[in-house]
């Protein structure tokens, strides 16, 4: 335990930026821990990493870590990251977003980033609500759930973020939950090492707002619910849609080698240069 704490402290701006703003028990801390452990295992130096975040409780993550960090605006983290990656492809760019950041206000950027396939890692903390602004319904709030803007139940239907990423063309897609901390470490590491656009959706909990409004108990109860609802991707393949109705899958949903934007662009440029040289 002590070693784990020591390791995490190596990567935190612990002298300047603490105490943090997260509620005790929030899943964001577990995600941050998993991310740090994964980065440590990949062997990248602190200065190789750029952590880009949006705005929200999750967006605060970039404030606490001792990497290159870029705290952007709500919804635009992926586009800032696109710029960073294009201008300096050597940097290892990791983007942390909330479900609102990634699929509401920034939903457009998310599907296009997946389609474009830059070598970026996107971590999306899905806590089913807009945490920072007080728990309004978001694109991942389940049908019927209560929120600050749906006190009698949400009438919209939720996105499945990981499936959306697969369909939009992401090279690598994984889903974990904060309950399954070990798996989360592995998913983060694989996503960072993957060449191409890699997405980790993390099922998390906002017990303070979403949990309270929906009588789901505290952080511990909500994490237990994650344990009960999570099914490994491999096992889910053998189950019927009815059996999977109130479940979510965890594991790797897609892993494919797709042409990467920067490489493709280089090829085009070389081909054009050769063709133009031939005309001389």
């Amino acid at each position: 335990m002590a070693d784990v704490t020591k390791l995490i402290h190596k990567y935190l701006r612990h002298e300047k930026k603490f105490p943090h703003v997260w509620c005790p028990g929030c899943g964001n801390g577990i995600v941050l821990g998993a991310l740090i452990r994964a980065i440590d295992r990949t062997g990248f130096s602190k200065d190789d990493i750029v952590l880009v975040s949006g705005i929200g409780c999750s967006g605060r993550m970039s404030v606490y870590v001792d990497f290159n960090t870029l705290h952007t605006t709500h919804g635009r983290a992926l586009t800032f990251a696109t710029g960073v990656k294009l201008a300096n492809p050597r940097l290892q760019v990791i983007v942390v977003m909330g479900d609102g950041d990634a699929t509401a206000i920034g939903g457009n950027h998310f599907i296009h980033a997946a389609r474009r396939n830059l070598n970026l890692t996107a971590v999306i903390i899905n806590n089913s609500t807009y945490g920072m602004t007080g728990g309004q319904y978001s694109p991942t709030t389940p049908y019927g759930a209560r929120s600050a803007t749906s006190m009698y139940g949400n009438v919209e239907h939720a996105f499945s973020i990981a499936e959306l990423a697969v369909t939009a063309g992401a090279a690598w897609v994984g889903r974990g939950a904060v309950y399954h901390a070990t798996l989360l470490d592995q998913l983060m590491e694989a996503a960072i090492l993957k060449r191409g656009f890699a997405v980790v959706e993390v099922i998390s909990h906002c017990h303070t707002l979403y949990g309270r409004k929906n009588l789901l108990g505290g952080a511990a109860e909500m994490m237990r619910a994650q344990k009960e609802a999570a099914v490994r991707v491999e096992k889910a393949a053998t189950m019927t849609p009815e059996e999977l109705a109130s479940k979510f899958t965890i594991g790797i949903l897609a892993d494919r080698d797709l042409p990467i934007y920067t490489q493709e662009y280089r090829k085009i440029r070389e081909a054009a240069r050769t063709a133009l040289a031939g005309e001389d």
Binding site: T73, I105, Y130, T149, Y152
Partner: protein, 400 residues
């Protein structure tokens, strides 16, 4: 204007958070369609409205869309379909609406919007100033500022009536200072539904999307017509001033609370005038009262109506004062002057007799402005009059 003589007993007094009061104003105005995206410090207004709609206390459609760009777009759709439409936002949210704000103005949809004023990023700040709305100065909407919860309530109700007037048909923003006003609890007086219904009849749109009588909206303008459309917008917006005052007078008759585009506090015999907007006005009132007691001939004018800019009312309020100190809550980096100062100066440029005009930018990004700040500013400005201007304007209280 005749003051209301007897006030009918159709009001009740209640203490509540100003955001909640605004949502009750929207409820009493019987808004029919609301689209919004949450942003601090606007959230309580919209959350409360969503509950009022869900509870069945307000017969309206409510949607929490996926961004402010979508919110304003949806509002245009709602208004085009003939609904009385409302939204609220703040700061980054207003900035994200930017593209659509101009469309709402030019297409003449009488949407009412509350802007809980908050500083624009960066640096990231959730606290109050006017940089959000000042960046949206030229969107072609009617715009007013309020200084307390009662005014926030009153102006929200009145905005619908003004905006929907057939000769006006323009969207309207009610600016209220984020947190400083949106999140305080105040005692305020609210009229009953019947009274508001008498004051504000249902919206009867002139042009609506209707399958039985199709119309084209949002059409392309060739160079031959674009300028004329702009001229029409400019003239309509400027002329709306008359209608605004009419509606305010009518409200004054009903409630005893009379509003003007430029309001005065202890201006009689004042040689020095402070000019403020929004909540700073109440703080400045305290400072001015104390300065008066100390024998300084200081008065206060506040700009309630920002668009259309009340040139005549401002000149009348300034009268023959010798020194006018304009307080802005936004910066115009690299510009001639901060937004309010620039407009005030141009209002006096053509005047043979005009005061010395000195500008101070105060209260940026939530920096507190106590009454002492106004006293200090007055002292500094008086000195500057004798020494001659040192700068185009001043950024007050910069540390280090």
């Amino acid at each position: 204007m005749a003051k209301a003589k007897t006030k009918p007993a159709r009001f009740h007094r209640e203490g509540m958070e100003v955001s909640i009061a605004v949502s009750h104003a929207v409820q009493l105005a019987r808004a029919e369609a609301i689209a919004a995206y949450p942003i601090t410090p606007q959230t309580h207004i919209v959350e409360h409205l969503s509950s009022l709609v869900a509870d069945g206390q307000l017969e309206a459609e409510f949607i929490n869309v996926e961004s402010e760009h979508s919110a304003m777009s949806a509002c245009i759709g709602m208004s085009a379909a003939g609904a009385r439409t409302y939204t609220a936002t703040s700061s980054q949210g207003l900035a994200l609406m930017f593209e659509i704000l101009f469309i709402a103005g030019a297409m003449r949809f009488p949407i009412v919007m509350t802007v809980a004023n908050r500083a624009l990023s960066g640096p990231l700040s959730i606290w109050n100033d006017h940089s959000d709305i000042m960046a949206a100065r030229d969107i072609g909407w009617l715009q007013v500022f309020v200084k307390n919860g009662q005014e926030a309530f009153d102006h929200t109700v009145m905005a619908f009536k003004i905006a929907e007037t057939p000769s006006v048909l323009l969207p309207m923003i009610v600016n209220l200072d984020g947190f400083i006003l949106s999140h305080v609890v105040e005692a305020l007086e609210m009229p009953d539904q019947e009274l508001v219904d008498q004051f504000l009849p249902p919206y009867s749109p002139r042009h609506v999307l209707n399958p039985k009588a199709p119309v084209t909206m949002g059409a392309f303008a060739m160079p031959e017509i674009y300028t004329e459309v702009k001229m029409k917008h400019q003239v309509t917006l400027t002329n709306a001033a008359g209608r605004i005052q009419e509606v305010w007078d009518e409200w004054g008759q009903l409630t005893g609370r009379q509003y003007y585009p430029v309001e005065r506090h202890l201006t009689e015999g004042a040689e020095i005038l402070l000019l403020t907007m929004g909540t700073l006005t109440e703080v400045a009132e305290i400072a001015v009262e104390e300065m008066r007691e100390a024998g300084l001939p200081v008065g206060l004018i506040s700009l309630r109506q920002w668009r259309p800019f009340p040139f005549a009312a401002l000149r009348a309020a300034v009268g023959d004062a010798k020194l006018l100190i304009v307080c802005d809550r936004a910066l115009s980096p690299g510009g001639a002057a901060p937004p309010v100062l620039a407009e005030v100066r141009s209002a006096f440029y053509t005047q043979a007799q005009r005061p010395d005009i000195i500008g101070y930018i105060i209260g940026l990004g939530g920096r507190d402005v106590p009454p002492e700040a106004f006293k200090d500013i007055v002292a500094k400005a008086r000195e500057e009059v004798t020494t001659g201007p040192t700068q185009e304007f001043h950024l007050y209280g910069v540390r280090g």
